[in-house]
Assembly symmetry: C2
């Protein structure tokens, strides 16, 4: 453990120094570095694929699950996507240095905010080599230094990608230590990283629930995290039937394994007549429907299973939907307050007062009115890129783009003013 701590302290010191230098690096140099990474990735694609082949061989030897192997695998198309992703991030506006709300105060001073990098970001993620490039690029563009810890199964791929990154930083005159990969797979290093509050300003875990939960429980450093996505669509009594069915179908069936998919549908008792139409379409698309007793009664000719209490608290991430008939807007919002994970909820209604109440009173990172939950996404919101979706309340909520990787400081411009 002492060795692990020493190693992390060394990386931490280098990162802190790099983060300080990053405050002097202009947008052009950061963009040039990112473009150079893209060029070098394409030029060195055979090295990248050879390293990935070593990881895939080890994955075979260790009988890794097919889904994990799919995420681990690189091919020319995926490397090209990685390179294009870097160019996209280079093309985004730089959030750093932006000054806002600069106003004169009665004392004569001007006071405002300047957007600045967070500092040193620790990234802990699973065995997906593309995350190495993506996370490093987002941290770099937002002016931060990062320490990357990817899943050990991807270590060969990650090493090559990180080396290409550091070479490009060097060429562009950006401090190399702005991107550091933990090259050892020793698990004690993760523990040491989570405790390194002297060096790290924030840790961002990217991956499944168990990874995120473990990081959150153990970290002494602040964590920006995403937990469950138990998202609800509420069809109000004043909903248009076609709009309601379209939104519910899209929210459930557009993609199943994503955090912004609907997991529970709430519907006002006055419009249960929508259910046969909607449930029929869902079942036709292969969705298993689990409903409350009223749902089952409303869909007598359809194969609807009776939902258990557990269903309301379950993030299926699969072709399963629970449906509950509610008596009122308040009952819908009570259900959401009890079971929602605070990710995304949407109401379908043509009634102004009802929609306004939902918008104000539902406490989720995204609250929508007449739109599919599937829009809760950094690209759809116009962030250009997304490092994840935060279900925390402090600092940043919902889709996290470059701005979420920055903070603000106060700036004061005076002419010699003193306090009297």
């Amino acid at each position: 453990m002492t060795e692990a701590i020493d190693m992390i302290n060394l990386l931490g010191q280098r990162a802190k120094l790099a983060a300080r230098k990053m405050r002097m690096i202009d947008t052009h140099a950061k963009d040039e570095a990112l473009q150079t990474v893209a060029i070098l990735l394409r030029q060195n694609i055979s090295d990248v694929l050879a390293a990935n082949a070593l990881d895939m061989k080890a994955a075979d030897d260790n009988k890794l699950e097919a889904a994990l192997k799919d995420r681990l695998a690189l091919n020319p198309e995926r490397v090209e996507m990685m390179a294009q992703g870097l160019e996209d991030i280079a093309a985004l506006p730089d959030p750093v240095g932006a000054i806002s709300d600069l106003v004169y105060r009665p004392s004569g001073i001007q006071v405002g905010h300047m957007r600045v990098p967070l500092g040193v970001i620790g990234m802990i993620y699973e065995s997906r080599p593309n995350v190495t490039a993506d996370a490093a690029a987002l941290c770099l563009k937002s002016g931060n230094a990062c320490i990357l810890r990817g899943g050990s199964e991807a270590i060969h791929s990650n090493r090559v990608i990180a080396n290409i990154f550091r070479l490009a930083l060097h060429e562009a005159g950006v401090p190399e230590d702005a991107v550091q990969l933990i090259e050892q797979t020793d698990r004690a290093l993760v523990g040491a990283l989570l405790a390194a509050d002297e060096y790290l300003d924030v840790i961002i875990p990217r991956g499944g629930k168990s990874l995120v939960a473990r990081v959150s429980a153990d970290a002494k450093v602040p964590v920006i995290k995403h937990l469950d996505g138990i998202c609800h669509v509420y069809i109000d009594k004043a909903a248009d039937e076609n709009m309601a069915v379209n939104i519910a179908l899209n929210a459930k069936t557009h993609r199943y394994g994503v955090c912004n998919a609907m997991e529970t549908l709430l519907i006002h008792q006055d419009v249960v007549s929508f259910l046969p139409h909607l449930v029929g379409d869902l079942i036709a698309k292969g969705v298993e429907v689990r409903g409350c007793e009223k749902t089952v009664a409303a869909c007598k000719d359809l194969a609807v299973n009776l939902a258990s209490d557990e269903d309301w608290a379950t993030e299926y991430l699969a072709a399963i939907l629970s449906i509950k008939v509610v008596e009122s807007l308040d009952a819908a919002m009570d259900h959401i307050a009890t079971f929602s994970s605070g990710h995304t909820e949407t109401i379908v209604t043509a009634d102004y007062a009802t929609g306004q109440r939902f918008l104000h009173e539902v406490d989720s990172s995204s609250v929508m009115w007449n739109a599919s939950t599937r829009f809760a996404d950094g690209f759809e919101y116009g962030l250009g890129a997304e490092i994840g979706i935060s279900t925390d309340r402090l600092h940043v909520r919902g889709p996290v783009g470059l701005e979420g990787l920055t903070t603000q400081k106060w700036i004061v411009l005076g002419h010699g003013e003193v306090r009297s």
Copy 2:
């Protein structure tokens, strides 16, 4: 300990319910509640003073320090100040519900931010009864529910103030449980509060360093905190002598015991000629000056002590100043990067490029140019009220007003849009 946990869970459940109801309470009701508290405080001043007399009697019996007793004591003037403080907070604009950056996206949806309360705030503070009213008022105005834990020496005063608050909330139709005081002085309750991450969204400690350090170390709930204020003034070679002397004198001598007072003066070697004038004025005001060797040499006829390495890392909060002569802007920023607590630093210079570099490269919650560090204050910045100054990097930095007690959610307004 089980009893303490049960008690905190009960308060937490009530607070969570109140926080949900608070999202439906409009500005008028919140303001009316605050104005009613002010009226009731004035009407019941004899009860408040009688309760405070019990606390003061116990303080005498327990031989409390004079400084602590001074903070604990109430009198008619202090109660009136409390009441006026409440009226001031009632008069501030309500940050909750403000919608910003609402834009159309290519998909047709409108996306923006809505400002919303944090939820449930735990306040842990020392034996200052005025903090009970002040903290409760700021939490209430920002739409939060709060659980207050004041120092046990003030328990009688706090109970009366909290009861008045709850009576006023009731009269104004605001949920009483939006303000709850922990009425028992059992220390286990603090431990249980710090662990109550199921109910609390944030904990704000207010008080001395040891209190804040203890809360930060033990809390499982996110903490907004203020640690040290080791603030620097850097007098550049391009500084105007009179401006430099005025700012340095004000930053040091306007008040000694405050976190935004200068603790170390850095001065460029080309303008050490300013030192005899400045140091003479400081000594005349009763300040002890501890300088580096060059400072001592530049002030031969003045009583300047030689600074030790420890001085650069010390927050005096007293009539003591350390002075260091530096070779360059970079040397000044190196010193700041090493020793600053990240609170407030200021540069005095007439040179544009030098000032711009300082403004961008110094990483503190407030960075100033030609103004006294003493301006780092919620009232001077125009926040209207201040719950404290954050030296954290995430969520909120520097003076924290009502907005710092809120967060934002994404809102989406659609017309039936779905993802394709």
